[in-house]
């Protein structure tokens, strides 16, 4: 390991080291003062965020090309670190309230974020797998953090089994690609395919295995079955972090591998991706209608959002469209993350011990009693739907427009029609909050409310001036290859 290697992965190395240190330091922090651990963890994330932003968008390679840090990685890392910070802000009061407060939570969260960051750096399939495990293993523990509660234990076990299952798919895919090309580094794989030395059948099957494995991670239909139970059973602060971070990380890995290494098989992959995207959009949205539990509804809604993200992959083989595709995906991830974290903040603000107040019907009267929080939740629901004057509108606008640019007008139509379906169940939350009588009570924790209100403000304000964010997203992809 040279000095250059270390400098290149400095933010990641710092975060991982901080996580280990925190694990030790936490031993000396008394059980009634775990807020200190939370502050230390947040501080670590903030420093990492500073280091990440300070390096700018220029590309660096390290470890003989196994790791590359570029604008794409930096953009995603900002999302991951932001969701990590939100994950801590949402957790502190929530863990105490539900009597599951332990210092390990924060260390595990830091390890997960480190795994996500490594995922964005990965330029080698082995690193991809390493990152996948680094981000998944702590998440399995976090899903079961409310152990002794059956739902949480079920979530952890299910997540672990399905996660391990999907990891084998990834690993087998990597093995097949290695068998086909004799390489695991992405440039080497490309060179082997272009040089004609690759076995096309093994290569294609390997690529499909990777798609399935990451499809599991990102909850793409039909690989989504674990998601509703895990999202519902995990402690809400974990779910909030998981729906944003883990999903985005899965898509980040998939996007880089597909765009860089799998250009040659785009003709075979495009119809499959088309079908998966359409299925996920339809299935997620239709199943969400039937839910009465808010966590479950948001889980299915988040599956549906995976479908929209997958839409960005469909034209990945068209060189001219590719640039917009990646930018649209990154931009959509920002819109999705802000609204998702905000919505979960509202859920957490309302949730009581032992999974009480998690039915949509429990939201009755929220808008009247707490107009600001109700307004914030309305903003998130409208943003998920894709209504104008929320960032979600531009997110979908960008995605659909690149689909049309790539000639996939039919897929854009599916996206628009399923958005219409989604309006029904998103509006139902608004109906309960504002139009039905009720007397809900909220936790008065400032961090949770701050997360909700700041997210809502950003969702609206950035929709009025999306230019800089769009420019940042389109600059991020230039350095992808």
């Amino acid at each position: 390991m040279t000095l250059n290697d270390l400098i290149t992965i400095l933010p990641l190395a710092f975060l991982a080291a901080w996580g280990v240190l925190l694990l030790l330091v936490d031993l000396w922090i008394p059980a009634n003062r775990k807020g200190l651990t939370a502050i230390l963890a947040a501080g670590g994330l903030a420093v990492t965020l500073g280091l990440t932003l300070a390096r700018g968008q220029h590309s660096l390679e390290a470890f003989n090309g196994m790791v590359s840090v570029d604008g794409f990685a930096v953009f995603l890392d900002v999302i991951f670190l932001g969701s990590g910070l939100a994950g801590i802000a949402l957790a502190y009061d929530y863990l105490k309230r539900t009597h599951i407060e332990r210092g390990e939570y924060y260390s595990l969260l830091l390890f997960t974020v480190a795994g996500m960051m490594l995922m964005t750096y990965a330029n080698d399939l082995v690193i991809v797998f390493l990152a996948l495990e680094l981000l998944s293993l702590p998440l399995y523990v976090m899903a079961g953090f409310a152990r002794l509660q059956l739902l949480s234990e079920e979530a952890a076990l299910k997540y672990f089994l399905m996660g391990a299952f999907s990891s084998t798919f990834v690993l087998y895919g990597v093995a097949l690609i290695f068998g086909a090309t004799a390489r695991t580094d992405l440039p080497g794989v490309v060179a082997a395919v272009q040089g004609g030395t690759a076995n096309p059948v093994f290569f294609l099957v390997g690529a499909a295995m990777l798609l399935v494995g990451f499809g599991f991670k990102s909850a793409v239909m039909p690989f989504h079955m674990w998601a509703p139970d895990v999202y519902q059973g995990s402690p809400s602060s974990v779910t909030a972090f998981m729906t944003v971070g883990a999903k985005a990380a899965g898509f980040a890995a998939l996007l880089r591998v597909f765009v860089v290494a799998f250009q040659s098989i785009s003709a075979d992959m495009t119809p499959i991706l088309w079908a998966l995207a359409a299925l996920t959009m339809f299935g997620g949205n239709i199943l969400a209608i039937a839910q009465s539990n808010i966590k479950r509804m948001l889980a299915y809604a988040s599956i549906a959002q995976s479908g929209y993200m997958l839409m960005a992959f469909v034209p990945y083989g068209q060189g001219a469209v590719l640039k917009d595709t990646i930018a649209a995906m990154l931009f959509f991830l920002v819109t999705y993350s802000l609204a998702t974290l905000g919505a979960w903040a509202v859920v957490i603000a309302l949730e009581k011990e032992e999974n009480k107040d998690l039915e949509i019907a429990d939201y009755a009267g929220l808008g009247r009693k707490y107009p600001w929080l109700g307004a914030a939740m309305t903003v998130f629901m409208l943003s998920f739907t894709g209504m104008p004057l929320t960032l979600g509108f531009w997110g979908k606008f960008y995605l659909f427009s690149t689909a049309v640019e790539g000639g996939f007008t039919g897929l854009a139509l599916v996206g628009l029609l399923t958005s219409l379906i989604s309006a029904y169940y998103y509006l139902r939350v608004v109906v309960y909050m504002f139009m039905k009588p009720g007397e809900p009570t909220l936790t008065q924790d400032p961090w949770i409310q701050l997360t909700a209100l700041v997210s809502a403000f950003l969702v609206v304000a950035l929709s009025l001036f999306p230019g800089p964010l769009l420019d940042y997203a389109s600059a991020a992809l230039m350095l992808l290859r």
Partner: protein
Amino acid sequence: MTMVLNPILLMTFFPLVGAAVILFFKSEQKSAIRWTALITSLVTFGLSLWVLAAYGRQDVGIHRLWFRIAGLPIHFHMAVDGLNILMVLLTTFLTPLAVLSTWKAVEERVKGFMIFFLLLEVGMLGVFLALDLVLFYIFWEFTLIPMYFLIGLWGGERRIYAAVKFFLFTMAGSVIMLLAILYLGWNAKTFDLPALLAARDSFAAAQIPLFAAFALAFAIKVPMWPLHTWLPDAHVEAPTAGSVILAGVLLKMGAYGFLRFNLLLFPQASLQLAPWMAGLAVIGILYGAAVAYTQKDVKKLVAYSSVSHLGFVMLGIFALNAEGLSGAILQMVNHGLSTGALFLMVGFLYERRHTRLMESFGGLWKSVPVLAALALIVSLSSMGLPGLNGFVGEFTILTGAFGSAALGSPWFAGLSTLGVILAAVYLLHMMEKVFLGPITHAENRSLPDLSPRELAVILPLLVVIFWIGLYPKPFFGLIEPGVAQILAAVQSAALALH
């Protein structure tokens, strides 16, 4: 002209200032909130007169790059011309009247009501003024949100059902329109309307499906038969002021969309499909009128009469000649005034008796003569009596439809005249049931007549109703440049077709 002193910008966004001020009041300060809303909407009306004064000057619009998405520019482009000037004036004119009409009717959560109402005004003005397709779409969709809350929070018994139905119906149309907008954008590399008009050739091959996609969104909004089913629900459940704005302005957004986008962007498809659209319009005229006659609820009757009247507007638009188009635009204003006034009358009755069923009334002329006389004038205007506004509009439309080359048959106009007769039948039927005859219910004996506030709401409408009826020339003068623009597009398309 600078950004700050641009009359269009100031007028469109001024209601936001009022809404922001209202945010700082306490919920209990109802009177202060009401006055703030009223003054805000009156100032907005004043600003719209400034826009009118500046109308025709080249530099009055605002046109600058907002940002680029996927390399496509999105412009902040708003301007006033012959197609939208009357719609803008109608919006700013009706809003303060509607606000004033809520003084007694809205007692709960006045603060939220007024904020949503002012937000709605911003959205409506934006729809009429936006000349970039994406900007237009943003305003178009945005109007859904305040109206959804106005119906859902301050509406009648089935308000939630009506609000959700309203939202989903409109959104169903607009998502398809968004797809067409994206398609246009990628083919012409712009969303700016003037640039799109110059680049019509780039999407000429797909004119018919594009026309259909836009038409679906607008036909739902108008609403044209058979897409009208959300309207009676929304109207019946909406609070009076909401109904006034819904009928007065929101429905016009659909007809305006046909004029501004369908006819200008796809003139060939418009010519080819004109008989079909006119056919739907005629069905709407007759169907709306027939169903209106059978209603027991006065508000529902007025709601169905809207379906019929908007049928006339659509017939005029797809006559595709000068008479039809200018008659249609004027009739859009007329319907806003007459139907707005009718809804206000229904609201006045409802505030007195808390029912809208015709059978609960009867003989009201004796107890509330002023209200009854004004209601008669408004009904006569709605059914198209010469000397009042409705006649001018309908007559011009029918003249246009009768001689229309695009429709190719006088039967469209012929059948529609039946609608005029049917309008007289159902409106006079209503007048008879509600106001004439003996007083059958004791409660109706001692009803208070119109208060000065209520007169202040209704009289401005009557002034314009008479003005248009007796001297419509200045109104036609304002419309003319817009009609000329459409006619030029249609004529060149007709030449290309033959």
